[in-house]
Each structure stands twice: as structure tokens, then as C-alpha cells.
């Protein structure tokens, strides 16, 4: 008999790993998911995120390490004895049972006789009260997805595991379901562990995101923290877009580091640099495209003092309504991306124009130059 959640519902993975023969799917990993949080495991396919999830569910046996749910060590427990439920990729609804019986399945297996009221309430929560007597194949993808959520949630698990639950839906429906899932999570207050390859999905839904790459957690933090302060090139490129500039440490000026890049100087707050900053050492300077302002070279004198600046020429611009995306050719970085809001458009900013890019040093981040500068770019493009 499984015990339902009653308080200490943290998920604690300690030194957990999974190897298949000579292939290591998950490197030894420590991870704690606090109770009641919406936690996302984000990464490209094959990064080990689904394997990690399946080890929490008990569907995969870890090669080493332990899984704790609250104070209970569940490493050796089979899936049907763990207070954990899963929403599977492609849902895995039982095709021979109707929606009501699909949702009632977990309750019935635990020997609960009067399930009607609970099932009806649960179907109301996911807004499928009318569909109770239909078979899964008679429902649309979004409805099936909600049945899968209801079927898992009705058991009041300590933790709900979601394995790419929105992968099979089209974009519009996916947006809608993201909000829906978030609403349900807030309403029931259960810990959600969500596996996804979609960085936008992870950022909109989760309180905490763990970015995984090649069986390791690259960085863990809140969506804003990951986006504003990436610690590795993989995170910088996989979450949104980053412009990375190779630079050399020149001097230190109080809390700031002054770097040489091309012919110019860039300033970077030391607290925002995750790399060692010995004078003469190499650092990758990062800046997000929307943080950059674009000024025509003729007006360069109007740019306030104290901003980082780079000169270049507009190679390409594409107008997408709310903003315009520019690709700038510059000596320090071949393809500099800049997103400018369309507030006051300067007609001179057309391909071929000489421009100055400038931004506040506070928005700059520094990464260790020993990494692959393009890590995480391919993975996202392939999706």
C-alpha cells in the first residue's frame, strides 16, 4: 500500500546515475526538488532528462545512487509502490477503458470502492466532465492530455512527473495547456517535475529549471536567473540567444573588470563573471540581443558615457512587427544579433549602415573561455 503525501514531499536524488553498457545516460547527479515547486528538467533529446524522471518513477533502475521522497528511501521500491504518478509522453491512456475508468484506475487498484465522486471532481478540474463515457481515441490530443493529467493527479501523489506532456500538441494548444497545467499545479499544490526540450515552455511554467546536457546538470536556478546569469556557454546559447565575444582581462577597476576585445574596451561587473579573472586571461563576454541599443555612427557622440560599445555594419535586418532583428558584422564578433523594439524607428538603420552597438555594463556576463563557444546552439536549431 502506498502512503499518500503528508508534508515532507521533497524529491532528493543523491549520486544517482544510469549506464547502459558502455553508454552513460546520466552522470552521477545530486538534485533536490523542494515540495510544492514546479521543477523543470530542460535539455535536448538524449541529455538524460527522461531517464532521470523514469528513475524517480521507478520505471528505470539507477546504476548507482539513491532516490528519496521526503524521508523515505524508495530506490528499491517498484513503481506501483511509490507515491509518485507520471503523465507519459503520448499519454499512454488505456484504449480499452473509457475516460471515467482510466481516471479511476489508480483508485481502484488501491482498493477504493466508491470512486464516483472523486473521479467526477477530477474530471471537472480538467474540464472534461461531459466526456466521461467516451473512449480515449474519441478525444482530441489536448483532451487526452488532460485525461492523462487527471488520471495521475487523482491519486494525490507526493510528486507528479510529466514527461514531455505537451510535445504532441500544436503550438496554440501547447500555450493553452501550459497555462492550464500551471493553474492546476497552483490549485492542488503538488510538486511537479516536468521534462521538456522546449526552453520557452520550461521558463513560462517552472519555478526552478535544471538545464541538462550530456547526462549532467549544467545549471540550476529560476528562469530569470538562468537567463540573466548563465554560467556556461551551453546555458547561454540554449536558453534564448547570446552574443559571445572573446576578450582578454586587462585591469580591474573596483568591482568591475576591464577587458580588451578587438581594439576596444568592455566593462564587466566581477560578480557576473563565472570565469577566473587573472590579468591576461581569456574570458567570453556575453550580452543578450535585446539589451543592446543601436545608434547610427553619425550620432555616436550622443551615446552616454560609461556604456560598453562596439562598432559594426548592419548585415541584415528583419522586421517582425513588435521588433526588428538585426545581424551586425563587427570585428569582435562575426554575427552580432540585436533585437530592437519598434518604438522610434531610425530609417537610416538599413543593411550597410555603419552603427555603434552599446549597452550597460550591468547587463554583461562573463563565461570561461575554455568552453565550446557554440555549445547548445545546434541542439536548439535541430528542434
Amino acid at each position: 500500500m502506498k502512503t499518500t503525501n503528508s508534508g515532507s514531499g521533497d524529491v532528493r536524488l543523491t549520486g544517482i546515475s544510469k549506464t547502459y553498457g558502455s553508454f552513460t545516460a546520466v552522470q552521477p547527479l545530486d538534485l533536490t526538488v523542494p515540495q510544492g515547486s514546479f521543477f523543470a528538467l530542460l535539455g535536448a533529446s538524449g541529455c538524460g532528462k527522461t531517464t532521470t524522471l523514469r528513475m524517480i518513477a521507478g520505471l528505470e533502475e539507477p546504476s548507482s545512487g539513491t532516490v528519496h521522497l521526503g524521508d523515505q528511501d524508495v530506490t528499491a521500491l517498484p513503481p506501483y509502490k511509490r507515491p509518485v504518478n507520471t503523465v507519459f509522453q503520448s499519454y499512454a491512456l488505456f484504449p480499452h477503458l473509457d475516460i471515467f475508468e482510466n481516471v479511476a484506475f489508480g483508485l481502484r487498484r488501491r482498493g477504493i470502492k466508491s470512486v464516483k465522486k472523486q473521479v467526477e471532481e477530477m474530471l471537472e478540474l480538467v474540464q472534461l466532465g461531459e466526456q466521461a463515457r467516451k473512449k480515449p481515441h474519441q478525444l482530441s490530443g489536448g483532451q487526452q492530455q488532460r485525461v492523462a493529467v487527471a488520471r495521475a493527479l487523482i491519486n494525490k501523489p507526493g510528486v507528479l512527473l510529466l514527461d514531455e506532456p505537451l510535445g504532441a500538441l500544436d503550438l496554440k494548444l501547447r500555450r493553452q495547456m501550459q497555462l492550464e497545467l500551471k493553474r492546476i499545479q497552483t490549485e492542488v499544490g503538488i510538486t511537479f517535475v516536468h521534462v521538456t526540450h522546449d526552453q520557452e515552455e520550461a521558463m513560462t511554467m517552472a519555478d526552478t529549471v535544471a538545464v541538462m546536457n550530456a547526462g549532467r546538470v549544467e545549471q540550476l536556478g529560476s528562469p530569470t536567473d538562468l537567463y540573466e546569469n548563465p554560467k556556461t556557454t551551453f546555458v547561454a546559447n540554449f536558453l534564448g540567444t547570446s552574443n559571445l565575444i572573446e576578450a582578454e582581462v586587462d585591469t580591474k577597476n573596483g568591482d568591475d573588470i576591464v577587458l580588451k576585445a578587438g581594439g576596444g574596451k568592455l566593462v564587466l561587473p566581477e560578480s557576473r563573471c563565472s570565469a577566473p579573472t587573472t590579468t591576461g586571461g581569456k574570458v567570453l563576454v556575453g550580452i543578450r540581443p535585446e539589451k543592446i541599443s543601436l545608434t547610427h555612427a553619425d550620432d555616436a557622440g550622443e551615446i552616454p558615457e560609461g556604456r560598453n560599445r562596439i562598432t559594426g555594419r548592419i548585415a541584415n535586418s528583419s522586421f517582425i512587427g513588435v521588433s526588428t532583428q538585426y545581424v551586425i558584422d563587427s570585428t569582435v564578433c562575426p554575427e552580432f544579433e540585436v533585437y530592437a523594439q519598434n518604438v522610434d524607428r531610425d530609417a537610416r538603420l538599413a543593411p550597410g549602415a555603419e552603427v555603434v552597438l552599446h549597452w550597460s555594463p550591468a547587463h554583461t556576463f562573463g563565461l570561461d573561455a575554455a568552453q565550446d563557444i557554440d555549445a547548445g546552439i545546434q541542439e536548439e536549431a535541430a528542434l
Binding site: 518513477a57 506501483y80 499512454a92 480499452h96 484506475f105 487498484r109 488501491r110 467516451k134 473512449k135 495521475a152
Partner: protein, 269 residues
């Protein structure tokens, strides 16, 4: 040319009707001649209408005994072959073991081999073992050749099953036994039922293998064959017609049931 145009437009229907006629004509002849009152011992020429045979279907010595034996053997052979065949099919699809490839092709042998060869070699085996020919040797032979058909039917179904359904059941607190009973078996059921129906039909009307391995025991197909040498009692047509009607009734009932189920679903939408 209105006639040619008419033919062109209705060609599919005409072809369909001709095919149906081709399939049904023998059954119609059997049915019609079950109401015949033949003059001699042979029921090959229409004489006059009579319901004598329908009123006394067991009127020929040994007929109903052989029929009941055939039904018993068919039921037991179906049960045995379905149980074994289902397990073999699951093993072949779900597990990787050393002799898997060999078993996979061995299972097809009884389907591919000429029946006479199997019949003769089985007889040799039974004689060498000193087995008493009769009910049990027939049953063993029938289970053997039905097995491959059941395995083929069930395997096709199991292969199309998503293993995640069983994982989902386990995730929802169903232990191994519950998972099998509540999820695996119901989903595999159509395949198992198809295999069982095939096994029943094959066992019921098998002649060659049965004839070799029956000893002095007589099954229904053997009775028909034996009596055809000396004369064909009308009762054989009666049994044949009755079996045809039972089969048709079976199909119709299942159609009506599934139709009604669909309509209920449609009305609840």
C-alpha cells in the same frame, strides 16, 4: 450503347455479387439437399421435398457420436493451443533469448508443411512411443498444428501494443498480476480471440492428420468421408446446414452488438 454504360457503372456491384455467389453456392446446395428424400443411398439427385432428416438428425448410426467427439476435441484443442500460443507469442515479442530466432521460424513449420508429412511423422512418433491411438493422440496432434496459427494471430496484436501502457498501469499502483489482468490481457484479447476461432475451425474440420492418428476413433470429418464411400445420408447435409447457420448467427449477433454499442456512443456524444 446504354447497356455498356450501365455495365460500366455497376461493374463493382456485379463482380461483388458474382464472388458472393461463388462462395455461397456450395452452401446453398448443401442446404437444399438437406430437404431431399433420396431414392437410393446417395443424396446426389433431387427427388422430393421432405423434413425427415431434420426431424431425426441423429438417425444414422455413429453420426452424432462422431459429431460430439469432434466438438470435444475442438474445444480442448482450442483451449490448449490458445493458452500455449498466447504465452509463446508474448515470449517472442517481449523477451530476447538465445533461441528466439529459431523458435520464431519453427513455429511457422506446421503452417508451411504438407499435412500428410506431419500426419505420417506424428504417427511414427506415437507408434514408437507405444501410445494408444485415440482421443489423446488426436488432441495432441490438433494442439500442435493449431499452435502456429494462434501464435501468428496473437503476435501481430502484441507487437502493436505500446509497452508504455503497462508502465502506466504499474505507475498507477497495479502490481504485475493486476497489470496483466487489467491491461495486457484485455488489449491483447482481440488477437487471442481471432487465434482461438481459427484454432476451433481448423481442429473441427481436420481430416488428414486426424485420420492418421485416430486409431479406431471416428471424428465427424472421418465419418463423412467414410459414409461417402457407401452412400451419403441426408443427415450429413442437415448437420452441415446447421453448422453454417450457427456460424452466420454468431457473426450477425456480434455485428448487432457492436452496432448498438457504436450507436450508444454516438448518442452520448
Amino acid at each position: 450503347m446504354p447497356f455498356v454504360n450501365w455495365l460500366k457503372r455497376h461493374f463493382v456491384v456485379i463482380a461483388g455479387l458474382l464472388t458472393l455467389a461463388y462462395l455461397l453456392l456450395p452452401n446453398i446446395v448443401v442446404t437444399v439437399f438437406s430437404f431431399n428424400k433420396p431414392k437410393g443411398r446417395f443424396n446426389y439427385q433431387w427427388q422430393q421435398f421432405s423434413t425427415d432428416a431434420w426431424q431425426d438428425p441423429c438417425g444414422v448410426a455413429g453420426l452424432c457420436g462422431s459429431l460430439s467427439l469432434s466438438l470435444q476435441i475442438a474445444v480442448w484443442a482450442t483451449l490448449g493451443a490458445t493458452a500455449l500460443g498466447t504465452m509463446i507469442a508474448f515470449a517472442l515479442v517481449r523477451y530476447r533469448f538465445r533461441a528466439r530466432g529459431a523458435v520464431n521460424s519453427l513455429i511457422f513449420l506446421p503452417m508451411a508443411m504438407p499435412e500428410v508429412v506431419m500426419a505420417a511423422s506424428l504417427l511414427t512418433l506415437f507408434l514408437n512411443l507405444g501410445a494408444q491411438l485415440g482421443f489423446w493422440t488426436i488432441l495432441i496432434a490438433h494442439i500442435m498444428f493449431c499452435l502456429s496459427f494462434v501464435v501468428t494471430a496473437v503476435k501481430a496484436r502484441v507487437m502493436s501494443m505500446d509497452p508504455r501502457l503497462e508502465q502506466a498501469a504499474q505507475d498507477l499502483y497495479a502490481g504485475p498480476a493486476q497489470t496483466f489482468l487489467r491491461v495486457t490481457l484485455p488489449i491483447a484479447a482481440p488477437g487471442i480471440a481471432a487465434g482461438a476461432l481459427l484454432a476451433f475451425a481448423l481442429s473441427f474440420d481436420d481430416f488428414i492428420i486426424t485420420n492418421f492418428n485416430a486409431g479406431s476413433t471416428v471424428t465427424f470429418p472421418m465419418f463423412v468421408w467414410g459414409s461417402a464411400q457407401r452412400g451419403t445420408p441426408v443427415q450429413i447435409n442437415v448437420i452441415g446446414t446447421a453448422m453454417f447457420l450457427v456460424a452466420v448467427l454468431f457473426v450477425l449477433t456480434s455485428m448487432v452488438i457492436s452496432n448498438r454499442r457504436n450507436r450508444q456512443k454516438a448518442s452520448s456524444v
